[in-house]
């Protein structure tokens, strides 16, 4: 979680320096959802995400050097500079991508799960999306198919209260119970504290075996909050929410919560955290240096990978 936080803070700095361009959607405040959920997966399980995907990719174990290089648009990036912030893919780590059409990757997740069931493998697919995706037609079609065919997929709705600047209560009829969307398809659904990484991990550990065992999909509504703006063009709060609201949620910072829990249970000392900060800082600094030192793709790369040849 600390790596994701510091990595993204550094990404914002790099954006200000024009080392990173385009869209950059920060996950700051929501780290516990990805880390808690992904920590319960096996290495060969699939994970797939929407466009706010740095956290999921790093949580899956991707090398920060190659993630940062992708944000820089460099040849050494995960996708050789062809994907960018919103389209990170790390196939060897079964991170099947970030997708930038809201709701459009949810059918892909059901397809990954369909494939593992077809292949008689005991794998699960975990699919992350925001609450803003739940009213899309594609989400509903995917939920219906997943429930109908009892596919081994865990839908994780990251309810950060806002779809860009529109609060859930102005966008979603079932805003007070987004998990109810899935329940209406007969999918087991529950709400979880997405600011508490241990709660996320616990609920995942509880449900993953039943999903793996073929009892059908599960839908988790992780209650979370985005501390930063929607993207870099949006200030930390904006016209659509107040500074006070953001500050209130910052008191539930998932990193602070975990640190307090660890200190009070003697699972770490202040010195440990100082040491951890130093180590993470070195990793992030190295990632920036790696990205900065890496070459841009050559013009010859423009036309490769359009069609798979062979």
């Amino acid at each position: 979680m600390l790596l994701i936080r510091r990595f993204e803070e550094k990404s914002a700095e790099m954006y200000a320096l024009a080392k990173i361009a385009g869209f950059l959607h920060l996950y700051i405040g929501e780290e516990a959802v990805a880390v808690g959920a992904i920590s319960a997966l096996r290495p060969d399980d699939y994970a797939i995400s929407a466009y706010r995907d740095h956290g999921h990719c790093l949580a899956r174990g991707s090398d920060p050097n190659h993630v940062m290089a992708e944000l820089f648009g460099k040849e050494t990036g995960l996708c050789h500079g062809k994907g960018g912030s919103m389209h990170l893919v790390d196939a060897p780590r079964r991170f099947m991508g970030g997708y930038a059409i809201v709701g459009g990757h949810i059918p892909l997740a059901t397809g990954l799960a369909f494939a593992t069931k077809y292949q008689k493998l005991d794998l699960v697919t975990v699919c992350f999306f925001g609450e803003g995706a739940t009213p899309t037609g594609q989400a509903h079609e995917a939920l219906n198919l997943a429930a109908l065919w009892k596919l081994p997929v865990i839908f994780i709705c990251e309810n950060n209260r806002y779809g860009m600047g529109t609060p859930a209560e102005r966008a979603i009829a079932l805003y007070a119970d987004v998990a109810g969307t899935a329940r209406s398809y007969g999918i087991m659904a529950e709400r979880v504290d997405g600011m508490d990484v241990l709660a996320m991990r616990d609920v995942m550990r509880r449900v993953i075996d039943q999903v793996r065992g073929g009892q059908g999909p599960v839908f988790l509504e992780a209650m979370t909050y985005r501390f930063m703006g929607h993207s870099m063009s949006d200030p930390a709060h904006g016209h659509y929410r107040t500074k006070e609201e953001v500050d209130t949620h910052r008191k539930c910072d998932p990193l602070l919560l975990l640190k307090q829990t660890m200190l009070s249970n003697s699972l770490g000392t202040e010195a440990d955290f100082v040491q951890l900060e130093r180590e993470v800082g070195e990793v992030v600094a190295a990632a920036v240096k790696f990205a900065d030192d890496s070459p841009f793709p050559t013009p010859a790369a423009l036309h490769t990978d359009v069609i798979r040849v062979e």
Binding site: G77, H80, H87, V89, G104, L108, A113, F114, Q119
Partner: protein, 325 residues
């Protein structure tokens, strides 16, 4: 062996499904109904419902599901009851199937066939009579195939199923019952290879799918008037075999392109541009395009007939480029 177009498709799919367990068929009514146009007759009995998957009416959902399954190593065949319904799945086709290989820097691929009938049949109305191949051809990352004969349909469908990329395979309702000689057993026809269906020296017609049959009929009639037309069937629309088309135009000096799709921004415009770039000095006349009219397809029979290319229009066009009018 003489087979119908429908039987040729059935053979191609069943042979590939026997050969490769990763191949499965998914779509509306493909199983117990035997396919809306009976293309998958006998499939669910032979392969079972796990590999012949009936879906609810959710094109975006099941097309997206098939793309995800392809990303995980399967080779799905998606049957769209008609290509018109591909519009509902266009986000999945354009934003996911076509782009995932590129966006991932080559890490992921989508070996997938999306097949079904395009173009008009008989009076099906505006929403069920569209030729959308130009839309698909516009998108980098897709291959587009539109065979006209049973032999080509079988060989190209087998190639499409074995391809590592998303292939849009466009059939036609009015072709399903047509018959032709089909090679026995396993054979493939490479994607991207045109075929000269009729030799001639006076003018070239490029036509594909159902329009090929009209072009051949027009060529027969013109032959009786002493005009020998060469008919080129691209068979694959993307990648387009310009080499074969250009070679024919260099020989005849005249070109008519026939397509059922709408005129504006149609595929023929692209073919004409490519021919002008490659063989301008060989042309003895401007290239003519015979296309569908730029209107939603009307229901009424005489209006529908007026909206679709026909043999007399093709004959007139050839005579016009040949200077006989």
């Amino acid at each position: 062996m003489v087979l119908s177009y429908r039987e040729a498709l059935n053979q191609a799919m069943s042979e590939e499904m026997r050969r490769d367990s990763r191949v499965f068929l998914i779509g509306e009514e493909v199983g117990y109904y035997q396919g809306a146009f009976k293309v998958s007759k006998g499939f669910v009995e032979e392969f079972g419902p796990q590999r012949v998957v009936d879906t609810p009416i959710t094109e975006a959902g099941f097309t997206g599901l098939a793309i995800g399954a392809a990303m995980a190593g399967l080779h799905p065949i998606v049957e769209l009851m008609t290509m018109n319904f591909g519009i509902l799945a266009l986000d999945q086709i354009v934003n996911n199937a076509a782009k995932i290989h590129y966006m991932s820097g080559g890490q992921l691929s989508v070996p997938l066939v999306i097949r079904g009938p395009g173009s008009a049949a008989h009076q099906l109305g505006a929403q069920h009579s569209q030729s959308l191949e130009a839309w698909f051809c516009h998108v980098p990352g897709l291959k587009v195939v539109a065979p006209a004969t049973p032999h080509d349909a079988k060989g190209l469908l087998k190639s499409a199923i074995r391809d590592h990329n998303p292939v849009i395979f466009i059939e036609a309702q009015l072709l399903y019952g047509t018959k032709g000689d089909v090679e026995d057993g396993d054979y493939t026809i490479p994607i991207g290879l045109a075929e000269v269906k009729r030799n001639g020296s006076d003018a070239t017609i490029v036509a594909y799918s159902k329009m090929l049959l009209l072009a051949l009929e027009a060529a027969d009639q013109l032959s009786r008037e002493g005009i020998e037309v060469e008919v080129v069937d691209p068979r694959t629309l993307k990648p387009l075999d310009m080499q074969t088309i250009v070679a024919s135009v260099k020989k005849t000096g005249r070109l008519v392109i026939v397509e059922e799709g709408w005129h504006f921004c149609g595929l023929g415009a692209q073919i004409a541009e490519s021919v002008y770039a490659a063989a301008f000095d060989y042309l003895d006349a401007s290239i003519l395009r015979i296309t569908g009219e730029d209107v939603p397809m009307p229901y009424s029979r005489p209006l529908e007939d007026a909206a679709i290319p026909n043999v007399p229009r093709i004959i007139d066009a050839v005579k016009s480029v040949y200077g006989r009018q």
